[in-house]
């Protein structure tokens, strides 16, 4: 039974996907959502394809009925004197077309709930997961690797075939952390840490971007996720520890200010980074309050950022 259902789903999904590719004239690699490269994206992909298959049936059925009715019953000179019958409705028919959507909704709801719960767990159980902290700050991505003590900006390296727990938060406006080939997104929110699991099946570079508007330079908030074999990943970590500069507290604070920066690598980050982030977020809405209290203007310099290109130099 299970295999039959699965086979049916796969087949429908394949048909739907082919139709989509033909319509857009694109290769699958250019459609990251339909090109899953990890178990999380795969689960979402299966669900998407299942819903596309069911919805295709609905569309085909309704379009066929609609076209038929429109052609057959269109006013023509031949049916000039035709008087349409006085139909009130039909209990039987109306029950049928209430039940059909009910069945479709149930067919969608069950896998939806199942996958929703599944995604809370590590995507594969066989390996010890890695934790990476993600902070979005206007308009950059800061990654910290607590197990390794290193930090990168605007790119992130992960070991392939290992579940990665991204702990997300933001300084300033919200953003959304999205790497479509590896899986769906989750918001980064100030003062509210959230976690999301992703995993890459094999080494490769996947594009991530912010999916939630966060002000002037939001468009440019893209980053690469480089999945490396576990061996290469270890090598890279060691190299960073040896060769990359340390990150001072002042430098970290500067990163949190609005502006764009290139890719950066650090062999350390301040121990109190989390506290600095909290402190920075606590300033939101404070300057106004203080202004009214007695005219502290220490945060004035970054209220003018909307009017000029706020590039930072490093």
């Amino acid at each position: 039974m299970v295999t039959l259902g699965k086979r049916l789903r796969r087949w429908l999904a394949f048909a739907g996907l082919t139709a989509l590719l033909v319509m857009t004239g694109c290769s699958r690699e250019q459609i990251p959502v339909l090109n899953p490269q990890g178990p999380v994206a795969q689960k979402q992909y299966d669900l998407i394809m299942w819903s596309i298959a069911l919805m295709t049936i609905v569309i085909v059925a309704v379009f066929a009925l609609f076209t038929y009715v429109l052609i057959k019953y269109r006013a023509k000179p031949e049916n000039e004197g035709y008087n349409p019958p006085d139909q009130h409705g039909s209990r039987l028919l109306e029950t049928i077309w209430t039940l059909i959507p009910v069945i479709i909704v149930i067919a969608l709801a069950i896998p939806t709930v199942k996958v929703t719960y599944d995604l809370e767990k590590p995507p594969s159980q066989h390996k010890e997961p890695v934790t990476i902290k993600v902070t979005s700050a206007n308009w950059k991505w800061i990654f910290r690797y607590p197990e390794e003590g290193i930090s990168t900006v605007n790119y992130v390296n992960i070991p392939a075939d290992v579940p990665v727990k991204f702990e997300l938060d933001a300084v300033g406006p919200m953003n959304s952390f999205w790497v479509p080939e590896l899986g769906g997104q989750e918001y980064t929110m100030p003062d509210m840490e959230m976690a999301m699991w992703l995993e890459a099946d094999k080494p490769g570079t996947y594009t991530g971007r912010s999916a939630s508007y966060s002000g002037e330079h939001f468009t440019h908030m893209t980053f690469n996720v480089n999945a490396q074999s576990e061996k290469d990943y270890e090598k890279w970590v060691n190299k960073v520890k040896k060769t990359a500069p340390k990150q001072s507290e002042a430098e970290f604070r500067k990163l949190l200010e609005p502006g764009r920066v290139p890719e950066m690598t650090f062999s350390s980050y301040p121990k109190n980074a989390d506290e600095i982030e909290v402190e920075k977020n606590r300033e939101d809405g404070l300057d106004r309050y203080e202004n009214r209290q007695g005219g502290h203007h220490e945060h004035q310099e970054h209220t003018g950022h909307m009017n000029h290109e706020g590039h930072q130099s490093h």
Binding site: Y117, Y187, Y213
Partner: protein, 654 residues
């Protein structure tokens, strides 16, 4: 807060962009032109007596529709600017800040200052006539609603030339929209303009609820009402429950920004997330506020042009009631991706999918209304027929978005952008245009040109699909909404160009509609019968345009499709007894709603720039108007029998 502080913002008059300079020139020229025409033709008094002070629901409806067409023009111009910027990779047409302002105003305008007034305009035109009554329950309040909307819209629209447009998106999520990250006056415009217009909408909800509950013609039980009246009744109830949430949310953010409170800031232990919740607790029902009346209009039009009564009337009513109930328990699907527990996401996934059930019922009932009908594809019907496939595509992609784990991949991408344009344009805009073509003769006494109507429909509909269908794959390709540019090499180029071409086709379609309005006023076919479509409901029982009192005799209703039944009876040769004419009790016109709303505008403008003295002065004016109103007794008059006779005779009805 210093009452006497008048701090000038850095940029008060916006003059830094060729596009905005152009806008300034055209605003000044248009204003001068209007003033000149009004003065030259001595029309000032006419404008004041006939329009600015009117409490007649038909005239108010016309003003709503004119205003929303103007807003459709501006929102559409915004859209074309955005599509031009996105036509090619790395375009340098708009910079990031300008683009951000434009998508913010486009979204806000289209929902609140285009869709809402268009719908309320349709209700004003049709509801009292369909119910066989003389006006809405509270005509004076109705005028206040309109002028509040109007001045709210004006306040919003001056932002781009005075002080700067809002730029935090129409959803205005905090902290981005808070004073820390968005200090300028732009966001204040958003808050205050929506507040003023929103109060007007709330009043409309109350007004139409009471009108429909209390003022139906004798014999018209609830289950004999036209479907548009049903949709308006249900919409009014949704408005009454949903809009207070918007009012409160806007007020709280205004306090945060103006007076230093901490409802949505992180300092002071506020919660930015609370804004998202409040916004969508209003925002999702709002989606149904703009779609249900369109459903109502489609029901009327499909039944009229299939020459058949509506199939499954009761099911149509129940499904709308079900949709309205569900609309209040789905808001969280706008942020599945904000880290809710799986239980919460599952609940909202399933409740969202469940909306497909009553909507599906409605769709099949429309199809079976067509079945065995005799379908005439006149302009209003064309829009209704365009609606069915378009809305279906929007609907099924909506179901796909409802699956929370799948939504993690669609959220905020162009897939979503395309989905909501398919339902909002395919549903609401098609519905309002259908209604406009349908009721135009009732409003003005002439038809909108059929041939131009067909051209406009096909251009707009094909353009719409060319514009928005490519956006589904663009979303799956990773393009997110609100990006102002994109690099080459992602495979997005062709689809974006296609989309832009479609947008311009829609623009041409709109221009044809605008021209046909002008052309038809001069040369269009006149409607002398009052019933140009062989209609079924009571609005077609009176003359086109309807006299100020709507019906010389209040009609008696004996079933669904009341006017159809009357016509059947007449065909069978039954004579109706015409009762004796009696004088008619009518509300008096008043200039106060205009003045009252103008004071709101002054207050809003003052608070936008935090010039509190002006703000509070405006509010004082508001209070004074309310006070004066409560001591007003001479607010009604009678139309005497002689005058009714003269009016009816002139229309050939005596």
């Amino acid at each position: 807060m210093n009452l006497f502080e008048f701090k000038m913002p850095e940029h008060f008059i916006i003059w830094n962009d060729p596009l905005i300079k152009g806008a300034w020139v055209s605003i000044i020229l248009a204003t001068l032109g209007i003033v000149f025409v009004l003065t030259y033709f001595k029309k000032w008094k006419w404008l004041w007596d006939e329009w600015l002070t009117t409490v007649d629901h038909k005239k108010i409806g016309i003003m709503y529709i004119i205003a929303s067409l103007l807003m459709l023009f501006r929102g559409g111009a915004d859209a074309l600017l955005m599509r031009t910027q996105l036509a090619f990779p790395d375009m340098k047409f708009l910079n990031a800040q300008h683009y951000n302002e434009i998508f913010t105003t486009h979204g806000t305008l289209m929902i609140l200052f285009m869709a809402m007034p268009f719908i309320i305009g349709m209700m004003n035109i049709a509801i009292p006539l369909q119910l066989g009554t003389r006006d809405v329950a509270f005509p004076y309040l109705n005028a206040m609603s309109f002028w509040l909307f109007f001045f709210g819209a004006m306040l919003f629209n001056i932002s781009f030339v005075i002080g700067g447009s809002p730029d935090a998106g129409w959803t205005s999520y905090t902290p981005l929209a808070g004073s820390e990250y968005d200090p300028g006056p732009g966001q204040n415009y958003y808050l205050l303009a929506l507040q003023i217009a929103g109060i007007g909408t709330l009043m409309t909800g109350v007004n139409f609820l009471v009108t429909i509950v209390k003022m139906r013609a004798p014999g018209m039980t609830l289950m004999r009402m036209p479907m548009f009246a049903w949709s308006t009744l249900i919409t009014s109830v949704i408005i009454i429950f949903a809009f207070p949430v918007l009012t409160v949310a806007l007020a709280l953010m205004t306090f945060d920004r103006l007076f230093g409170t901490h409802f949505f800031t992180i300092s002071g232990d506020g919660s930015p997330m609370m804004w998202a919740n409040l916004f969508w607790v209003w925002g999702h029902p709002e989606v149904y506020i703009v779609i249900l009346p369109a459903f109502g209009i489609f029901s009327e039009i499909i039944s009229t042009f299939a020459r058949k009564r509506l199939f499954g009337y009761n099911a149509m009513v129940y499904s709308m009631v079900a949709i309205s109930a569900l609309s209040f328990i789905v808001w969280l699907h706008h942020f599945f991706t904000m880290g809710n527990t799986p239980a919460i996401n599952s609940f909202f996934s399933v409740s969202t999918m469940a909306i497909a059930i009553p909507t599906g019922v409605k769709l099949f009932n429309w199809l079976f209304t067509l079945y065995k009908g005799r379908i005439e594809l006149k302009a209003p019907m064309l829009w209704a027929m365009g609606f069915i496939p378009t809305f279906l595509i929007g609907g099924v992609t909506g179901v796909m978005l409802a699956l929370a784990p799948a939504d993690y991949q669609y959220h905020n991408s162009y897939f979503l952008v395309s989905h909501f344009h398919y339902v909002l344009i395919g549903g609401t805009v098609f519905g309002m245009l259908a209604g406009m073509y349908y009721w135009w003769p009732k409003m003005f006494g002439h038809m909108l040109d059929e041939r131009m109507g067909k051209w406009a429909f096909w251009l707009f509909t094909i353009g719409f699909n060319v514009c928005f269908f490519p956006q589904y794959p663009l979303g799956l390709m990773g393009m997110t909404r609100r990006m102002y540019t994109y690099p080459e090499g992602l495979g997005w180029d062709g689809l974006n160009l296609l989309s832009t071409i479609g947008a311009f086709m829609m623009g041409v379609g709109f221009l044809i509609i605008a021209y046909s309005i002008y052309w038809s006023a001069r040369y269009g076919e006149r409607d002398t019968t009052g019933d140009p479509w062989n209609g079924r409901t009571l609005e077609w029982a009176t003359t086109s345009p309807a006299p100020v009192y709507n019906f010389a005799h209040i009609p008696k209703v004996e079933g669904q499709d009341a006017f159809w039944l009357m016509k059947q009876k007449r065909k069978k040769g039954k004579k109706e007894k015409t009762p004796e004419l009696k004088r008619i009790h009518m509300p008096k016109d008043s200039g106060r709603p205009f003045v009252f709303s103008f004071f709101w505008f002054v207050a809003g403008f003052g608070f936008v720039f935090e010039w509190h003295l002006i703000g509070f002065a405006g509010l004082l004016g508001v209070l004074a108007c309310m006070l004066l109103r409560s001591f007003e007794y001479d607010d009604h008059y009678y139309i005497e029998v002689d005058e009714i006779k003269r009016t009816e005779a002139a229309a050939g009805r005596l």
